[in-house]
């Protein structure tokens, strides 16, 4: 994306934004950030399959619709959304079509967690987030991050103060109403030193429809802090979902994430993790379960920028019917990041003749005293396991479904929020047709 071409789609898009008018009442550094992002867009263009990072994900159909930004979201009744809420007590933050809905949100906490929306960013929240907001997710080379940043006036900032451990999960619910609109939700999570938190980001559709979500989440994990991040994408079957996630892990901090891509016609998830401090660790797992003509693309980049870092990654794809799974996982070990220990595994299951999988695990290593390994497989269900189950009286189809479920179950088991895990298990059971 180095060529400087003024993209006509982006031109029209920005034109339409200008007509909608600018929001007022925002802090000055936000205005500056947005202006920078807007001017950067002028020298970017939408990626095509000729760009290496997008060669398997054709988003040209996105050009067919100039998704307008959602205006005042029509508030769905609180009751109608209850089914998507978690059973456990949570700090719940709800977005509808990319707009933060304080009315649907609710905090069940003693007040140690600091939450504020970008539109009313003031006081302590503003000062605590200034050095992170828009700084972790780099918009220079990514048009979608730039678009999101340019529109950053609604969104949420969460700060977990130092030494605070939040016992209830923070549930961020992004609801798509089903209208032909674009949502640009933005979220920043700052876990200060030795803080602990579990955050659940869930993308759900209220009803079917063609929509676009372009989400950006920034996470800062302070010294010795722990963040557990669960991300569930269950968008409508015709939706476009593009998400960027940038995480910065400080010294001896720990970041865990589980990413589930289940919905959307075309989904793309970019996850960048910088192990910036000595002894930082991360474990990132993912599962894409797709069928029909879905395309799920996961790009991860783990940057070992300090010595003694440790990373673990397990990504799985189950691809059925004419779906297309894409995985690209890069592990970078910078010079002087000695004693790095990185391991990456990618297993892919193709269930039908027309299913397609493109995978590209990559290692880039510039330090010699390191342990790095990656593995990737593409295949079908093990014939011997199938035979074993059949010999125990399972019908072939049941045996197949059971094995498929077990393949995905390994990732689902890593979701530590009980009610969510249960809901996901049920969902996978239905998808793998075990009744």
């Amino acid at each position: 994306m180095s060529t400087v071409i003024w993209d006509d789609y982006l031109e029209k898009l920005i034109e339409s934004w200008r007509k909608e008018g600018e929001p007022s009442r925002t802090v000055s550094y936000l205005n500056r950030l947005r202006a920078n992002a807007l001017s950067r867009i002028e020298s970017l263009r939408l990626p095509t399959i000729r760009d290496e990072e997008w060669r398997f994900t054709d988003i040209s159909s996105l050009r067919n619709t100039l998704f307008p930004r959602a205006s005042t979201a029509s508030l769905p009744g609180l009751d109608s959304q209850k089914s998507t809420f978690l059973d456990e007590p949570t700090c719940r933050l709800v977005f509808v079509d990319g707009q933060y809905m304080p009315g649907l949100s609710g905090l069940t906490d003693d007040g140690s967690i600091i939450v504020c929306s970008l539109s009313e960013l003031t006081g302590i929240c503003a000062s605590k987030t200034e050095q992170y907001l828009g700084q972790l997710a780099d918009f220079q080379d990514d048009v979608f991050v730039a678009l999101n940043t340019a529109l950053m006036h609604d969104g949420i900032c969460i700060v977990i103060p130092a030494n605070v451990s939040i016992t209830v999960p923070v549930h961020i619910l992004y609801i798509t109403s089903g209208k032909e609109v674009a949502a640009y939700p933005r979220c920043l999570l700052v876990a200060e030193s030795e803080a602990e938190v579990t955050i659940v980001e869930e993308y759900v559709a209220w009803q079917e429809g063609v929509s676009l979500t372009n989400a950006v989440t920034e996470i800062y994990v302070g010294e010795s802090a722990r963040v557990n991040h669960i991300r569930v994408q269950r968008e409508a079957s015709q939706a476009f979902h593009i998400a960027n996630n940038s995480t910065f892990v400080a010294k001896t901090a720990h970041y865990d994430s589980v990413n589930l891509a289940l919905g959307a016609r075309i989904s793309r998830f970019d996850q960048k993790i910088t192990l910036a401090g000595e002894g930082a660790e991360c474990q990132i797992d993912g599962l894409a379960l797709i069928a029909d003509r879905q395309l799920a693309d996961t790009h991860t980049f783990i940057d070992h920028a300090s010595p003694h870092g440790r990373s673990r990654q397990l990504h799985k794809c189950i691809v059925d019917e004419s779906a297309h799974g894409v995985f690209s996982g890069e592990i970078m070990v910078r010079p002087h990041s000695q004693q790095t220990d990185a391991r990456q595994l990618n297993h892919n299951l193709l269930l039908s003749e027309k299913a397609r999988m493109d995978t590209k695990p990559q290692l880039e290593i510039f330090a010699d005293d390191v342990k790095c390994a990656h593995g990737a497989t593409v295949g079908q269900l093990d014939k011997e396991s199938l035979f074993y189950l059949q010999s125990r009286g399972f019908a072939e189809e049941v045996a197949r479904n059971l094995l498929t479920y077990a393949f995905g179950g390994e990732i689902i088991n890593r979701v530590i929020v009980a009610s969510l895990r249960q809901r996901l298990e049920e969902y996978i059971l239905v998808r793998t047709r075990i009744s």
Partner: protein, 478 residues
């Protein structure tokens, strides 16, 4: 004596015409006139000129690739002379005049005395010697119907074969450097193994290179007909102190039903000095087409030389049950760069491929494995296994792995694994305990690391490759 042999016997006198060749050097630069000149000098048929011109016109419209993980200053293609022996070797009177550095290298590699002289370009009678050797082999080959000659000779003598196969595996517009090669290639090898013939000996360009000056733009074409088999060795294991900048060769292999081609390379072109000055840019397109049922193409390469190695010997597995193999060791030291790997394109059902790649980086060098395994929808029950291991020696080098796996068939089984390691202190300590010094210990560990690949090499190559490696990494540990 056939005309081919007659030609060959006469070859050594070519050096007598050195002055003649020199006066023949075409002006620097590349344009259609130069290509016409090359073609007419070589007395080529009209269709070959058309082939060259078409490639040239496509090349003009191509953009130099930039995706590779190697860096080099922009090449000025107008500053190269496309018709001439790139650098006629000066004849030396005796071994005393040879660069002592070169002699030391020969010593280390254990190359026989007369071969050393030949490689350093000393006495002419020695070359006579090796030609007589080559001649005996040629007679033996001709008895079973094998054609093994230079590609220019083949164009004159077997134009119908060349026309049938040239450019069918690597089309003229395949990539930037292949297009350039197709336009200006001057020489190379041609090898044809007729139906049912098992080649009685390993064929090697080694014998040929002694007698013919190989250009920067070589073109190699090997055809194995039904049931034929051949083992082909390329390159010399001794260093060629050549300062050519760009070496853009094209190698095409074609295996018909039940045919078997094994292509081994030990590449040790000049790599530049310790500071990364000079050295060859080795930008080569190598591709094999396993066209027939049960055919097999196997690439084995030991890449130790060149300032930049950038090539992906590939297999197109079109025939049912065809097999592709790639075994590679790439060693980089000082400022060398390597971006190498393979492509396995599975088209036919039950096709199988194996990739074993070992990269060793030392000094300030960078070595990348880049590979593609593509299983197309027609490749039912295709199977691939890939393994790429890297070893880093020193903290300033880099090792990179970029495998692409593209599967469009659910009956395929594809596995890829990669690891990175270094030589452990405990390993060296263990050797030291047994009275083996660090240098030797490293050499043994590395040979163990590369064993799977060396096992694929013909015996004498394996011995030399082992020596070459320890020589190459000398002084990089400690």
């Amino acid at each position: 004596m056939s005309a081919a042999l007659q030609n060959l016997v006469n070859q050594p006198y070519k050096h007598g015409f050195v002055t003649n060749i020199e006066s023949d050097i075409a002006p620097k630069g590349l344009n259609e006139d130069i290509i016409r000149l090359i073609s007419s000098k070589k007395n080529e048929p009209e269709w070959l000129l058309t082939f060259r011109l078409e490639a040239y016109r496509r090349w003009l419209n191509m953009i130099e690739p930039t995706w590779q993980n190697v860096k080099y200053p922009k090449i000025n293609f107008q500053n190269i002379s496309y018709y001439s022996a790139p650098k006629p070797k000066k004849k030396l009177a005796s071994m005393d005049e040879v660069d002592p550095e070169l002699l030391r290298t020969f010593e280390k590699l254990g190359i026989p005395m007369h071969e050393r002289a030949a490689l350093a370009g000393v006495a002419v009678d020695v070359i006579f010697d090796s030609v007589s050797v080559a001649t005996t082999y040629k007679e033996k080959l001709a008895e079973v119907g094998i054609i093994f000659c230079s590609i220019s000779e083949a164009v004159q003598r077997y134009p119908e074969l060349i026309r049938q196969y040239l450019g069918t595996v690597v089309p003229p517009g395949d990539n930037y450097y292949a297009a350039l090669n197709s336009a200006v290639f001057t020489d190379g090898s041609f090898c044809f193994i007729p139906k049912g013939v098992k080649c009685p000996m390993d064929l090697s360009t080694y014998f040929r290179i002694n007698t013919e000056e190989s250009g920067q733009f070589e073109r190699t074409l090997i055809i194995a007909e039904e049931g034929a088999s051949v083992s082909y060795l390329e390159g010399c294991t001794a260093p060629r102190f050549d300062t050519n900048q760009l070496h853009a060769a094209v190698v095409e292999l074609i295996a018909l039903d039940d045919a078997d081609i094994k292509y081994s390379t030990v590449q040790n072109w000049y790599a530049g000095d310790e500071n990364g000055v000079g050295g060859i840019y080795n930008f080569v397109t190598k591709r094999g087409l396993a066209k027939g049922r049960n055919s097999r193409i196997s690439w084995t390469q030991v890449e130790t030389g060149s300032a930049i190695t950038w090539k992906y010997p590939s297999c197109i597995l079109r025939g049912e049950n065809s097999v592709g193999e790639f075994y590679s060791v790439a060693v980089t030291n000082h400022h060398q760069q390597a971006d190498t790997g393979t492509k396995m394109i599975h088209i036919g059902p039950n096709t199988r491929s194996t990739i074993v790649s070992k990269g060793i980086s030392a000094g300030q060098s960078n070595s990348s494995y880049r590979g593609l395994v593509r299983i197309t929808p027609t490749a039912r029950n295709a199977r691939n296994y890939s393994q790429c291991d890297s070893m880093l020696i020193g903290s300033q080098c880099g090792a990179h792995t970029f495998p692409y796996i593209q599967v469009q068939n659910n009956s395929a089984q594809v596995e890829h694994e990669a690891s990175t390691s270094k030589i452990g202190e405990d390993q060296l300590f263990y050797f030291a305990q047994r009275g083996i010094d660090a240098e030797e210990a490293v050499s043994m560990i590395i040979n163990g690391f590369c064993k799977e690949v060396f096992q694929q090499l013909p015996l004498e190559f394996a011995v030399e490759a082992t020596k070459l490696l320890s020589f190459k990494l000398e002084g990089s540990v400690g």
